[in-house]
């Protein structure tokens, strides 16, 4: 064992590839374990001369490459057949042949990255810029055109004089001892470093703020907010009436907007007949429309109890005898024309909606003025025996 704690090892330089192969063989034969050969390029036959085992990098590649294969196939299965299955080109959800390109690429990608990261980080233990051999004449020579061997002080057989003697005998041109470098310290709170950190923080925060609050609202990053088109209600300079929205040409009838023949008459002599039957579907549709358009004034159950807190005069209840005696067509007429304070609901509702509302009003009227016979009807419906 060596006595000098600071000694890293003894280095020797040779001039040719033949000499270094010979030297490596002899050092290995002499029983040294912690030695290394440094050459500017890989010298053929050195692995055997140094007695090195076969490299196991290949297993690393194999493992990570197949991990990539497995990962992408599982990923393809899960995304394309479980999480969001979609039929594409009539293929099955898990269309293996068309996943092959992606599978191959991922295998190569993971295998390749693992190989490089593996040799650098695991096999070489790099980065190691503070290794004792750095910045020595020895390193500069083997970087250029010399062949070097180093026997480390950690070797159990190491003895400085014996090692030097052996290397001399092998024909080394230059022999040096290399010391371990002193401990380096990395002061974190040095003024310059703190200033640098603060600058980094400011730049990152400022940049992020600027990007998120300004850049994203500038053309062309603004998600196409600015477009050369007219939006509803906008003024147009193209048409003489300056309206962006166009009205229909006179005499045309839009779908679902057939004109009402008795429009404007106060007390019509004729009215339309209700085309809808009071089915469950129609009643539910009518309920929705009633609650939207009628209930603000007429109340949720047509009692005339407005929830507008007197902003408008309350309308009469729809459960009065007069209202109950109105025909369906009359109520339709009132919805289209309006009556007293009530405005026309012609533009807000379609004719189908009006008839559905009327059916719902009829249901409400019947419920409010129920007769004992109605109870029997309900029980019949529910399948209860009538006494």
């Amino acid at each position: 064992m060596n006595e000098n704690k600071n000694l890293y090892g003894v280095t020797a330089l040779f001039d040719s590839a033949n000499e270094i192969i010979h030297a490596a063989k002899e050092v290995e034969k002499a029983g040294y374990k912690n030695f290394d050969v440094n050459t500017p390029y890989p010298v053929h036959g050195m692995d055997r001369a140094m007695g090195l085992k076969r490299s196991t990098v290949g297993f690393f590649t194999l493992f990570f490459g197949f991990s990539g294969t497995a990962f992408i196939l599982l990923f393809a299965y899960w995304t394309m057949s479980v999480n969001y299955p979609m039929v594409i080109g009539g293929k099955p959800f898990f269309a293996l042949p068309s996943f092959i390109p992606v599978t191959f690429e991922t295998t190569v990608l993971l295998g390749g990255i693992a190989t490089v990261v593996g040799i650098l980080a695991v096999f070489f233990n790099l980065p190691s810029n503070n290794h004792p051999l750095h910045d020595t004449d020895y390193m500069c020579s083997v970087s250029n055109d010399k062949y070097g061997i180093v026997i480390e002080a950690e070797d159990p057989k190491f003895n400085e004089n014996e090692v030097t003697e052996l290397l001399k005998r092998l024909g080394a041109k230059k022999i040096h001892t290399v010391m371990n470098p002193g401990k380096e310290s990395f002061p974190i709170f040095e003024g310059r470093f703190v200033v640098f950190l603060i600058l980094v923080v400011l730049v990152v925060c400022g940049g992020t703020y600027f990007t998120l609050n300004k850049v994203l609202y500038l053309e062309p990053f603004d998600w196409m907010l600015e477009q050369d088109k007219l939006i509803p209600q906008e003024k147009s300079t193209i048409f003489t009436d300056n309206k962006g929205m166009r009205t229909t040409i006179e005499g045309t009838v839009a779908r679902g907007y057939l004109p009402y023949p008795f429009k404007g008459q106060t007390i019509p002599t004729e009215t339309l007949a209700n085309p809808l039957l009071p089915t469950k579907k129609v009643l539910e549709f009518g309920k929705g429309k009633f609650l939207t358009f009628c209930s603000p004034c007429h109340g949720n159950y047509a009692d005339g109890d407005s929830r507008l807190h007197g902003q408008f005069p309350n309308p009469p209840t729809l459960h009065s005898a007069r209202a109950r005696e109105f025909g369906d067509g009359m109520i339709y007429h009132i919805i289209v024309n309006g009556q007293n304070t009530m405005p026309s609901y012609e533009t807000q509702t379609t004719s189908e909606e009006r008839w559905a509302i009327i059916n719902y009003i009829r249901a409400l009227q019947r419920a409010k003025n129920a007769k004992p016979t109605d109870l029997q009807e309900v029980q019949k419906e529910l399948g209860v025996n009538v006494k």
Partner: protein
Amino acid sequence: MEVDYSTEAAVVEGNLRLAEIDRIISRPIEERPGKKYLLALSISSSFLLIGAICVGLTFFYGVGMWGNNQPVGWAFGIVNFVFWIGIGHAGTLISAILFLLRQKWRTGVARFAEAMTIFAVMTAGLFPIIHTGRPWLAGYLTPYPNQHGLWVNLNSPLVWDVFAVSTYFTISLLFWYIGLVPDFASLRDKTISKVKKTIYSVFSLGWRHSNRHWQHYEKAYMILAGLSTPLVLSVHSIVSFDFATSILPGWHTTIFPPYFVAGAIFSGFAMVVTVLVFVRKVFDMENIITLNHLERMNKIILATGMMVGYAYGMEFFIAWYSGVQYEQFVFINRAFGPYAWAYWTMVSCNVIFPQLFWFRKIRRSVPAMFIIVILVNVGMWFERFVIIVSSLHRDFLPSSWGMFVPTLVDLGILLGSFGLFFTLVLLFAKTLPVVSISEIKAVAPGSQPSHAGNHNE
């Protein structure tokens, strides 16, 4: 000028010693840039600037600035993408396939060709992204969990493209970097500038030329070459799937993958020769990048050029043999229709002129080969133009027929892509060793042990 082909030519000429190799390769990095270099850089960066302005116009006003329109929806954007991806393939072929085939001569040109791969893929990758018109949304191409609840469609050739090109770029970059690590270490130990030393130390990761490392390093290098070989074949095959999986006459052919790969290697080698002709002259590396290197590459150009020519002929044969009326129309229209000039430019540049490489004199004459490889570059660009534009401009319905005319912005972006590529190449040539120092040393005469008769010990 007699050349003896019966023995393998020396990879490094002029009996250079290791230290001289070191000096020659690292000189361009250490010297200040000369007038010629700055002139070249200013020209290429001006082109780059023109391209950047045109790309800016495209982003601001939209893709309507380009000549693409119905029925030619894919034009310069995709032509340039395929062209540049193809250029990259020569680098990987030299660095990976020729490495596996134990072609020692590859060492002289491998580093440069790999760098060109990386720059070409970078240039190519820009085109699909700017073609979207909203390049900051290109992230949607990657499969990541998002609030839309959607995933990318792994059945789509366009998604295969994303995987192939990004994998190709990553692996090429890693391959290149791992080759550079020992050279960074050599430069680190050579330089006297403190700043340079810091930079080289960071990138060399503290490499010590240790044989315990070289052992794994060589193995890893071989594994990467083994991974890159099928990878490079897959990349242009997948690019060709973009066309071949469609149902368009002129695109829907099974010959596309090998045809594209051969064309990629063809165009890539032409670009490598184009650039190396200057590099070896300007940097005095005629002993490391020798005439033998150039001659070998010219032979590959000749071989791949004939493969491409075979594919052109086979396309016509299949169009006739299949009996499909639409297919036949497309090919007759290609050769005699409105874009016949592009078709015959392509045929003469790619098939006819490279035949001159049968003559040794022309193969070994630098000015002659320079003219031919420039023509090959032009021809290969037109090949992609012909495939894309001439197949699209005649739709199934004659009422939808149209013509493609490039706009100034289109041409500006094409110019800019050359500007970007050559600017990167020039910067690389002045900042990193253009030839692998450690690999050249390993193949220099007398650098390997003679084993003095005890080889099997």
